[in-house]
């Protein structure tokens, strides 16, 4: 066995070359592992630097809307959808399933959230818009999703959303679905809630 290994390194020059190659390749491996972690922040930096518009993020300045005029004939239907993640025992629904709005006007919609447990819980709503191409034309001036929402034991709260659809919305889009998912802000507390069905919610006491 040793003979084979010794012969694999006939001269020291070749041994050095081998070591050099191994070191370079190992550097590539570690570099690529790090690349996986920096790729997301790097992408954001590059987009900001180059001025690329990333989807779902409105990079328009507010003054773009200062001069908007309403196209009197045009109407867009907004459908509301509300869900709660499995680890947050809340009831959450829109007061109106759908509204018809005119682009350029500010509208208000309300959602109703109720804490079904006997403990105080904090949630964070995550929005999503379908079709996604419409996301940049949808502006919220006020939203319960801008901050965490805390609900006391059994508390019910109206959640307010003020929004405007831009007149620049492509003509072929006539219906938008706006969906909110409430997530438990504290994953540890959420784990305890996960296997509890809403029916036995009244039995749930403090977290610990």
């Amino acid at each position: 066995m040793h003979d084979a290994e010794d012969k694999a390194v006939p001269t020291t020059a070749s041994g050095k070359n081998k070591r050099k190659t191994v070191v370079a390749l190992a550097a590539v491996v570690f570099g690529m592992f790090a690349f996986g972690f920096v790729v997301a922040p790097l992408y954001k930096l590059i987009c900001e630097y180059a001025g690329f518009q990333t989807v779902g993020v409105s990079v328009r300045k507010p003054d773009t809307y200062a001069v908007v005029t309403t196209d009197p004939g045009r109407e867009v239907t907004i459908k509301f959808d509300a869900t709660v993640s499995a680890d947050l025992p809340w009831d959450f629904r829109p007061l109106e399933r759908r509204v018809t709005v005119r682009p350029g006007e500010i509208h208000q919609a309300s959602f109703l959230a109720q804490n079904l447990t006997q403990v105080s819980l904090t949630g964070q709503a995550i929005p999503s818009i379908v079709p996604w191409q419409a996301a940049v034309y949808f502006t919220k001036t006020e939203c319960f999703c801008f901050s965490r929402q805390e609900l006391g034991p059994g508390e019910t709260k109206e959640m307010i959303l003020r929004f405007m659809v831009s007149p620049d919305l492509p003509a072929e889009i006539r219906t938008l679905t706006l969906s909110y998912t409430f997530m438990n802000h504290d994953p540890e507390a959420g784990k305890k809630m996960k296997n509890v069905t809403t029916r036995s919610m009244d039995d749930v006491t403090g977290p610990g």
């Binding site: 081998k18 592992f33 993640s85 964070q124």
Partner: protein, 532 residues
């Protein structure tokens, strides 16, 4: 090509006796054999899960397994076939053939070679544990995500997912070490006169494959590490509630996953570049363009990953870029296929089993290329996304493109490895049963997909019943015919007509100047390579 210092059979010593020969092996031939045996075992394990999937899909409704177990089988089938069968088989052939082809006495880093093989059984055990733990109380849910392991679903799975994450880590380390070894061997251990641009195509294919692996495996390792941290340490890489984004995982996964397709494909294309000239009795047509297309496939392949994610909501500019990039890949792939066809043109072709596989591959892989271009086009893809059309496409790409290429390699080199000729009649039976079974299995799935049958779902609409039955019957034929492969290999290892040094009259290269089977140590005296 001629060799001046023709080998003497290595006189000093043979392999050490007993189990130490295998556990402590640093010999490239023994490690290659272990890789190949491991791959064969995994092929049957992955095949068994495919059989259960096809049995379940024989009829609509839920008959054999639960939905979660079904999805776990789908996950395991993919992971076992990709990481357990195809990659180790290709690595086994690299181990056996590269040192013999370039005139090196062994791999450059023999102990590392031992480590990269022995990590594989450890990974296999971890993978099996991930399948087994959900059957025990407190074991949590089964891995129902598919091999892509997308969050948020993969954040919800029980502890089985942690076993799987460590499986991926171990597999990654194994592939990275093996790749470093192959690159160092090819760059530093070539015999004098063996120019990089005169090197056999199989070595070139593996050089590019190994580079791809060291670029992509660490990214996958990083992705699953983030998954692990999100699951247990409260980070929010992919958790939307904490400001993360599940789409990031998709990008990391496919940054690995798309080049991985070429990792599976290229070694097999390298094998074809030896098989086709041998049986057409003509030198390979367009060697420089062949090398060029391998490099181009590797390079472009690194930059088009997001065509797997057209439907997640990227900007129009981004998807357009990924579409154009993806379609561009068909140019070097097409060039490669044309080179193979031009090599056969007016050749004195004989149709031994490896050549039959090679011709079958050219036809069926081109078909996958065609559906690949269909899938690359954004509006088309949005229609076909996550349907059985995709399943049919990638099975046409990966079975001919990877597995059948390895089969061609097995039949081509088995006489060299064992010193015995395989049974040609049985080999041809195996070819035809495999090809017919394969096409009956996967061709109808194109239609199922176009008609709207989604993938990764245990049940289906009754209108899909007939084509699913045809597909399942094909799969059973395909599955059973693989037992014939096992029989042929065992029979050849145990004996048979003795093979000559040259084995095939049209074969060219250093490896054919060694005896069959080659002695334990070869090219201990460095050969001088001269090209005519």
């Amino acid at each position: 090509m001629t060799v001046e210092a023709v080998t003497h059979a290595s006189e000093h010593h043979g392999p050490p006796a007993g189990w130490k020969r295998w556990i402590c092996s640093t010999n490239h031939k023994d490690i290659g054999t272990m890789y190949l045996v491991f791959a064969l075992i995994m092929l049957f394990l992955g095949g068994a899960s495919a059989m259960v999937i096809r049995m379940e899909l024989f009829m609509p409704g839920i008959q054999l397994v639960s939905p979660d177990l079904y999805n776990n089988l789908v996950t395991n089938h993919a992971l076992i076939m990709v990481f357990g069968a195809v990659m180790p088989a290709a690595a086994g052939m690299a181990n056996w053939m590269i040192p013999m082809m370039i005139g090196a006495p062994d791999m450059a880093l023999p102990r590392l070679n031992n480590l990269s093989f022995w990590l594989l059984p450890a990974a296999a055990i971890m993978l099996i544990l991930s399948f087994v733990v959900p059957f025990f109380p407190g074991g949590g849910t089964q891995i129902n995500t598919g091999w892509t392991l997308y969050p948020p679903l993969s954040l919800e799975v029980g502890m089985a997912m942690d076993f799987l994450i460590f499986t991926v880590h171990i597999l990654g380390i194994s592939s990275i070490l093996a790749s470093i070894n192959i690159i160092v061997t090819i760059l530093n251990e070539r015999a004098p006169g063996m120019d990089l641009f005169k090197m056999p195509v199989f070595c070139w294919a593996w050089l590019i494959t190994a580079f791809l692996l060291i670029l992509i495996m660490p990214v996958l390792a990083g992705g699953v590490t983030m998954l692990l941290f999100d699951r247990h340490f409260g980070t929010s890489f992919f958790n939307a509630a904490g400001g993360g984004d599940p789409v990031l995982f998709q990008h990391l996964f496919w940054f690995f996953g798309h080049p991985e397709v070429y990792v599976l494909l290229l070694p097999s294309m390298g094998i074809l570049a030896h098989v086709i000239p041998t049986f057409a009795r003509k030198p390979l047509f367009g060697y420089p363009s062949m090398i060029g297309s391998i490099i181009a496939i590797g390079a472009i392949g690194m930059l088009v990953w997001a065509h797997h994610q057209y439907t997640v909501g990227m900007s129009m500019n981004a998807v357009t870029y990924f579409m154009i990039g993806t379609i561009l890949i068909s140019i070097p792939v097409g060039l490669m296929v044309f080179n193979f066809i031009a090599t056969m043109w007016r050749g004195a072709i004989t149709f031994e089993t490896p050549m039959l596989f090679a011709i079958g591959i050219i036809i069926m892989f081109s078909f996958a290329g065609l559906t690949g271009v269909m899938l690359a086009v954004i509006p088309g893809d949005i229609q076909y996304h996550d349907s059985y059309f995709v399943v049919a496409h990638f099975h046409y790409a990966l079975l001919p493109g990877a597995l059948f290429g390895l089969y061609a390699g097995v039949f081509y080199w088995l006489p060299k490895w064992t010193g015995n000729m395989y049974d040609e009649t049985l080999g041809q039976w195996f070819f035809w049963l495999t090809i017919i079974g394969f096409n009956i299995t996967f061709f109808p799935q194109h239609f199922l997909g176009l008609a709207g049958m989604p993938r990764r779902i245990i049940d289906y609409n009754v209108v899909f019943t007939e084509f699913n039955m045809i597909s399942s019957i094909g799969a059973f034929l395909f599955g059973i015919s693989q037992l014939l492969l096992l029989y042929i290999i065992v029979k050849t290892v145990r004996g048979g007509e003795k093979a000559t040094h040259h084995v095939w009259e049209g074969a060219e290269g250093l490896e054919w100047q060694l005896p069959s089977p080659p002695p334990f140590h070869t090219w201990t005296e460095v050969p001088q390579v001269k090209y005519a």
